[in-house]
Subunit: 510 residues, 2 copies
């Protein structure tokens, strides 16, 4: 029997890849390879996609916001029509629960993002036109003039998918074509989503290469793509190691690249809060840390708390919950092996195991819910190593000997997506808060009070970003519209240009 | 006699540098060294400035917009008070004419920028607060949390000065302290401006390290500064070579850096315009290319025009003007030697001298007004080399054999600050414009019609930016408020944070 081989979508054609190198996705719940084979695209194929994307960028430049909005809405509608198929495929490839996670949570989130992006495309506010009539100088934000390469992560097969997720929606909203590079954990899901987007582009008469799809490339081809003269920008969500390699390549070529790389999302529990409601916080922490088997970019991987009896009681409460909780199936053996490595590294640098700490046997890829602990002093001996991300239901609890030590620890924290402070509801921690907050504020994108960081609302006020190394630049967000669009635009100024030659958004009267 | 030695301004103190290594500025009009010696700061001194700047950043975070605005206005008033002294010093260091250039043009431009920045600081619109009351998520743009290192260029001793110019004003407006690294061509001017800023900071009770000044560093110290964990961002205006080195260092560390590096500002003259008003365009071109001895980042260094008799007549008209014009005094011997090198490189790659081409003798540093020419075919053989910037009154005229060749040339153009198209006023060039404009648009920050590019109005609609290698990122501008502030901010999100703990800009009602 001839194997089922996934076709790439390049230059407006679904076609067999030129490449003979292939890979298969694995069902993480069973450890079995899924039947379909997907190609590892060659450099030639990637370059062809870039050329077609550059042509599409030129054509899209004159598409109006209404057409782009309708395209995004068609994508959302197409996803709803094929919801059952999408959920089955994503479940097989990622082992994420069909319900409620995929069907009731992530899929509606994805279509909501697409429709929010459609609204932004329609109202055009992201263009921020400025008129200086006296000097005949006008400016607005415009598409980049080249395709946006989107490399999505493993942990959100819909909401951050290269062919349907937040980066896709934001890039398209500004009128940029997208070259989707599937996450190799869910190529089939990405193929379905690219089919939906491609059909939507045709029905809306947008350029055929508004969406293209490849599944995987050799490392050097990926580096070549993000640095290519024809690329507009790249959006990458994934590991710090891969992100830094791509960043270096894009930076050398002066090409914009937006990265969401890693984050341990420090949670600081002040003494009054711990005394007031330690048990409740332990429950919130457990729920947040183990949700989705801990595979969220905003997972609380570092908890900083007062030591002594109060801290011990909290740790004990957490231990009981973590031990009693079932370890979820991970997204793949890569995640499991990464966890083993990270936990080993943390232990080598002074973290002690409270519970868990090891991969679990069986066909499903699992890792025990894990708590580690270290003293503040131990943390400050190896602050860099003890901030190693362990992507899963793993967290390091650091017990401090007073506020000064706590402040020193916070000062040693690298850039993160989020930072949380729990404080006494009656104000008993206000002085401590005033010491800790400025240090934490400077190191995170989103500062939270009294709530765990895992929820990332699709809100116009959201910042899913933060200082390096959480991302590549502290001024941009990957979630929240219209702000997320801001990553995929160039500033275009027109001086003394004849009125009829100005882009439509500058022609309307002020 | 003890030599006069310029003091550095570090951590709130004017003091003698620790360094024994020194340099002197030169009067470019006479070739004589100016008396004052300035230190080449050590790494220790630079690191001390970074530490003091980081402390100032923390303190400035709570300064209100009104205080920052008054500081910027005090800087402007201080410049006006010491105008005579400033003009004398800048003239001695740069040989730029005292009047009208320094006194009537650049100085008022500088104070205008400072006052525009003050208005932006006062109204706070750059913060763009967003409220999501339902979810208790709020966001705004905030200072970077570390000092901004400003490295200004040689060609605008006031308007782009590290201690008073556009980057300084934009960084301060957002509440960031500045570490000014003087341009080594005008250390004395920068010292006066830093004195004014330091006095203004004290009178407004801002942190003493709101402004710091060093004059020069060894190369490796500069690279260390822009990549240091305590730095907020860097703004650099200067040569591509130095800019790329700084960019690589900052990029590796994930630190924002904004660069304005080089631009040859292509001017495309379509056939109808040339036929209609060739002589007038030649006059505009001559005036634009030789203004300020050609030392503007927006100098028209590349002119693309139809060949044949029409083109020959234009070149001849230009030649007569360039030969008849007086060569201005350059900013220094570095500029003159750079011109000799660039012209030699252009000639090696097929450019032929129409007039000029050599440095001029005498004590003043001068270079003959220079026109080069090449055929379109010759240009396309070495498009990269023939886009080498020659920073001075030098321009390369490229004669095309038809519109196709012209379009190919435009497609080979790298990122530039500006691009200009001259077309027939009656519409005879409209078809050609439609072919050329999309290609040029994608490659420049500011697209101009029928006007030379050298004027850079301080307008909210201005874009003094453009794709790499003109700058490091196509989405930011160095001129024009409040947009220029956008470079020096981090996006700060607050979730579930108690109302009284929110920054003031988020506390006011929606």
């Amino acid at each position: 029997m001839k194997p089922d081989i996934g076709k790439v979508l390049v230059a407006g054609q679904w076609r067999e890849s030129q490449s003979l190198s292939r890979f298969q996705a694995e069902n993480p719940a069973t450890g079995e390879l899924l039947a379909t084979q997907y190609p590892v695209s060659t450099g030639d194929e990637a370059m062809e996609a870039l050329r077609a994307g550059a042509e599409a960028a030129e054509a899209l430049r004159t598409a109006d916001g209404e057409t782009v909005a309708k395209f995004l809405e068609s994508c959302a509608a197409g996803i709803e029509e094929r919801a059952t198929e999408l959920v089955e495929m994503a479940h097989a490839e990622t082992a994420l629960p069909k319900t409620p996670r995929l069907r009731e949570i992530e899929l509606p989130r994805t279509t909501d993002q697409l429709r929010q992006a459609a609204r932004a495309a329609r109202d055009g506010s992201w263009q921020r036109p400025v008129w200086d009539e006296a000097r005949k100088i006008y400016s607005l934000y415009a598409p980049l003039g080249g395709p946006v390469v989107v490399m999505g992560p493993n942990n959100f097969p819909f909401a951050f998918n290269s062919a349907a997720g937040g980066d896709f929606a934001a890039a398209i909203a500004a009128g940029n074509p997208v070259i989707a590079k599937a996450n190799t954990g869910h190529p089939g899901t990405t193929r379905l989503l690219a089919e939906i987007a491609f059909d939507a582009a045709r029905s809306r008469r947008l350029p055929a290469s508004t969406i293209q799809l490849i599944y995987r490339t050799p490392r050097e081809v990926g580096l070549e793509m993000v640095a290519h003269r024809l690329v507009g920008a790249t959006a990458f969500t994934g590991s710090r190691e891969a992100g830094l390699q791509l960043k270096a390549a894009a930076d050398r070529a002066g090409k914009p690249i937006y990265l969401e790389m890693s984050s341990i999302n420090p949670v600081i529990i002040l003494e009054g809060a711990l005394r007031e409601r330690g048990e409740a916080i332990a429950e919130e922490f457990f729920a947040s840390c183990t949700a989705g088997a801990g595979q969220f970019c905003t997972n609380p991987g570092l908890v900083i708390l007062p030591g002594g009896e109060l801290g011990e009681r909290f740790i004990e409460a957490c231990r009981r919950k973590f031990e009693a909780g079932t370890a979820g199936v991970l997204l793949g053996r890569g995640v499991r092996d990464g966890l083993s490595k990270s936990v080993a590294l943390l232990r080598r640098h002074g973290a002690e195991v409270v519970c868990g700490g090891d991969a679990l046997p069986g066909p499903a890829t699992r890792f025990a819910n894990t708590l580690l602990r270290a003293s503040g002093e131990a943390f400050l001996r190896h602050p860099e190593e003890l901030q190693t991300e362990a992507f899963g239901a793993v967290s390091l609890l650091v017990c401090c000997r007073g506020l000064d030590e706590m402040a020193s620890i916070v000062k040693s924290i690298a850039g993160n997506l989020t930072g949380t402070i729990y404080s006494h509801t009656g104000g008993a921690d206000d002085a401590a808060y005033a010491v800790i907050e400025p240090q934490l504020r400077a190191r995170v994108g989103r500062l939270i009070n009294d709530r765990m960081p895992t929820g990332v609302a699709v809100s116009p006020a959201m910042n899913h970003g933060g200082p390096f190394p959480a991302t590549g630049h502290p001024g941009f967000t990957a979630v929240g519209l219209p702000a997320a669009i801001q990553r995929f635009v160039a500033l275009h100024c027109y001086e003394n240009v004849r009125p009829e030659r100005l882009p439509p958004a500058l022609q309307r009267s002020k």
